[in-house]
Symmetry: C2
Subunit: 504 residues, 2 copies
């Protein structure tokens, strides 16, 4: 017989079903939930809360909450609450189709925040008090401490600050994860902050469990459900070419002595291109690498298994069902090589700078001068959010942004005269890669960046038009440091809105 995951007698007495737990959340509350990139989010209470709110709305009663998480979650959380019109304010990140639609319709308020800022801004009081925390864990120990599940995110902060806590204990999550987590309890508010005592990716500096005053725990809900494990998409040729350019560049940097043979800790965004980069690294001959990143996806488990990667630090997972099975099967192996941290630590400026991370993230578009838009389609329509990309782009060793050179069947160019929204400024972007090639922007002036981006990254269908804009801007711009023709700077975007294509 399997051991009960709830090993604290007092808390076992607080087990209720999800409906009873959801009934403890009142209209207008700020509710802070677990979840990061579709892992470790509560599986039952958000659905029950959505149903309760739909019922209230049907009865003509207003009921909305302010919703905070680690990052993106899943249809059972963001999707269900968005559909129920249950969210008055969402922060700090989402990637849900229903939530996104409402945000861009103007009916759901959303704040898009650097992931390294979230916990401290809540501690600083910038978002008011937290009424309820709803946190998934994999077990409750005899001493009342909580064993996290597949993401940590901001759970430490939520548990510390919330007035009342609802815990979901999900026994679908592997019991063998216990010991994989590292919860640093040395944080403080300024002026009482101390150096974070971490020098290497493999350093453990905290507890393996989350602390929470049992008296604050008003409900415990048993669940048995999988994370949002999406099937693995096979690597396409474009992603493979992008990955190839980047890996060739990294080898070149090692050859020049600008990077050690084991590189520096890798941060990798989530998606097909990052997975292609990880697959490329598996065949690259690199050994002894490390990852200091937010999310572990399939490719990183492969690298650990194959010995290319020695250790990986993260705050969440994004695995396919197959990879998840392998993860569960070999949990003892991975527990030695994966350290799960709070999002405050996984993205902390101090640690990202000290370790010298190599940030590798996707983008929507970049412009001639190396400014990057990660969030807004055509300048106004948000896709997901900035997430942690800025934490690594600004404070790491170097920042790499990767994208196919076109989108939507070639109707959109990822290289434009001026980006329609800026998330990463020209000061923060080291390298841009498309399937066309790689532009190393380090040490270049704005105009030199334009030359190399046109030569190496833009799709041939857009090259002449981009060169033409740049040539005419060089002639007619008010200032020649960052030449622009303002009436045309955003015209490619406007043309797409009007005609469905950026091509003239």
């Amino acid at each position: 017989m399997q051991e009960d995951r709830i090993r604290h007698a007092g808390l076992r007495d607080r087990v209720v079903d999800a409906d009873h737990a959801a009934a403890l959340i009142q209209p207008g509350e700020t509710v802070a939930m677990s979840g990061f990139t579709g892992s470790g989010y509560p599986k039952a209470v958000p659905l029950a809360l959505a149903a309760r709110i739909e019922q209230a709305h049907a009865e003509g009663q207003p009921f909305q909450i302010k919703l905070m998480t680690g990052a993106s979650t899943a249809p059972e959380l963001d999707g269900a609450l968005a559909k129920a019109d249950a969210i008055a304010l969402r922060m700090p990140f989402q990637s849900d189709p229903d939530a996104r639609k409402r945000i861009n319709d103007g009916t759901l308020d959303y704040i898009d925040i650097h992931l390294s800022h979230v916990a401290q801004h809540v501690w600083f009081g910038f978002y008011g008090p937290i009424d309820t925390a709803v946190v998934e864990v994999s077990a409750i120990r005899e001493d009342g401490t909580l064993v996290p599940s597949t993401s940590i995110g901001n759970n430490k902060t939520w548990l510390d600050l919330a007035s009342k806590v609802i815990v979901e204990v999900n026994d679908w999550q592997p019991a063998g994860m216990e010991g994989m987590h590292d919860i640093y309890y040395g944080t403080a508010l300024p002026p009482y902050r101390k150096p974070i005592p971490m020098e290497h990716v493999h350093d453990r500096i905290g507890d393996t469990t989350l602390r929470c005053d049992p008296d604050k725990i008003v409900a415990v809900v048993r669940t048995h459900g999988p994370d949002r494990n999406s099937p693995f998409t096979p690597i396409d040729a474009t992603s493979e070419r992008i990955a190839g350019h980047l890996i060739e560049f990294l080898k070149h940097e090692v050859a020049l002595g600008r990077l050690p043979p084991t590189l520096l800790p890798l941060q990798s965004g989530v998606g097909n291109i990052p997975n292609a980069v990880l697959a490329g690294l598996a065949k690259s001959g690199f050994r002894g690498l490390t990852a200091f990143t937010e999310v572990i996806q399939d490719g990183m488990l492969d690298l650990l298994r194959e010995g290319v990667l020695d250790v990986a630090s993260c705050t969440g997972f994004a695995l396919s069902p197959a990879a998840n099975e392998a993860f569960k099967r070999d949990i003892a192996f991975y527990r030695e090589r994966i350290i799960m941290r709070t999002q405050e630590m996984s993205n902390h400026p101090e640690l990202v700078r000290r370790l010298g991370c190599i940030g590798m993230n996707g983008m929507i578009e970049a412009d001639l001068y190396g400014n990057v838009n990660s969030t807004h389609v055509m300048g106004s329509r948000i896709q997901n959010g900035i997430g942690g990309s800025g934490d690594f782009a600004r404070n790491g060793f170097m920042s790499v942004f990767l994208s196919p050179s076109t989108a939507k069947g070639g109707s959109i160019s990822a290289l434009v005269p001026m980006v329609s929204h800026v998330d990463h400024t020209e000061h923060d972007v080291s390298v841009i890669v498309t399937e066309q090639g790689l532009a190393d922007l380090r040490g270049l002036t704005p105009k030199q960046r334009a030359h190399t981006l046109i030569a190496n990254c833009v799709h041939p269908d857009y090259r002449d038009a981009l060169q033409d804009y740049f040539d005419r801007a060089l002639q007619h711009s008010y200032g020649k440091h960052t030449p622009h023709l303002l009436p045309e700077a955003l015209s490619w975007h406007q043309r797409w809105l009007e005609t469905g294509s950026m091509q003239g």
Copy 2:
């Protein structure tokens, strides 16, 4: 008789005049000089080098250098070398009229870099080797170590990395500064970096002098000249109102318990508005404050003198002649209360985050959604550079941007539909202040930011037009998260270029 400032016998033998020293610099070299905000820059060698290069040009010989410094310098350095067409590439910051003109004419290449990135990017090899360092000091000690003068900037890095070193010993600088400096020698390249052992503004963690292998010092030049000490501009009514709004806000935050009564370490940009803020703080009733900033200007000396400020950390000075006299006269007092650090430490993400600095910087313009342009007039014409503003805006406790609501006699609005260049994204801007009022953007969605900026900050002459743009964008924007009308987003700037006014 005054003691000789060159107390190392071997180096005393290397004293030459500036012309001989400048002759040691060859065409094409990368030359790294001292200097930060018009303090501590070499006074003689750059002028001699400019003359030498003008002579070479007159003889038809090409001669240019790549020039790095801490930040801005003075007419004897940036001005003279720009006029001589001596600079092939300038980084990381400048504020010189002659250099600026050439940059915007497209004849001088310039790279504008976060000040916290400069030293490490040079160490990482992103800018190639440094051939010559030209560094002003106030003395050479018996053991060959160098006593810095009124700025440190990147001098440690320049002395560590340069193949050859030219030292200017300026006996105009007060001998009593010895002991004021704190040069941290615990830096390393990743993966060997350690936590920086500093927890409070007053902590001293390094040497009081700069180390330099005497064998690398190829010339020592004696100088006796003042820094670029510009007269103090009386505080105008606009600046006083801006300062008033900010100080009221700070008191409000203390009252709400979101800031301690001694606030948190203040970072302050340079100029009339920051000086007005400092003057306002003098009368505010605050006591026991601290400053962790880049530059100390007149107002900060006053605050130290009056006991409002307990301690200030900086990497350079910007004093009026009168303040400089007072500084020299009371050097023993200030030496106990001022700690001068390397620019790597004064702007370090780790320290700015740990200490929880309150960043207060000027701006050129902000837009409806809180994006800030600090560098480019009308999107293409660079003013100075981003300097350290991004280091504090991103990694501090909160970021404040201050500006009059209009410029150029009212023809330019500092609040625009979309900024023409982004240096600080919506994710990094906490508070915006004009003489009209203060907008607290923390915890607000993009559209809520627009409401508060229109209500509180925009000049009445532009309020209706900005409201009208926002209202129509709300109706017609492709996405309603960050509503924009792309054909109009930069039209205010274009109108100014065409008509001389942003007003329709």
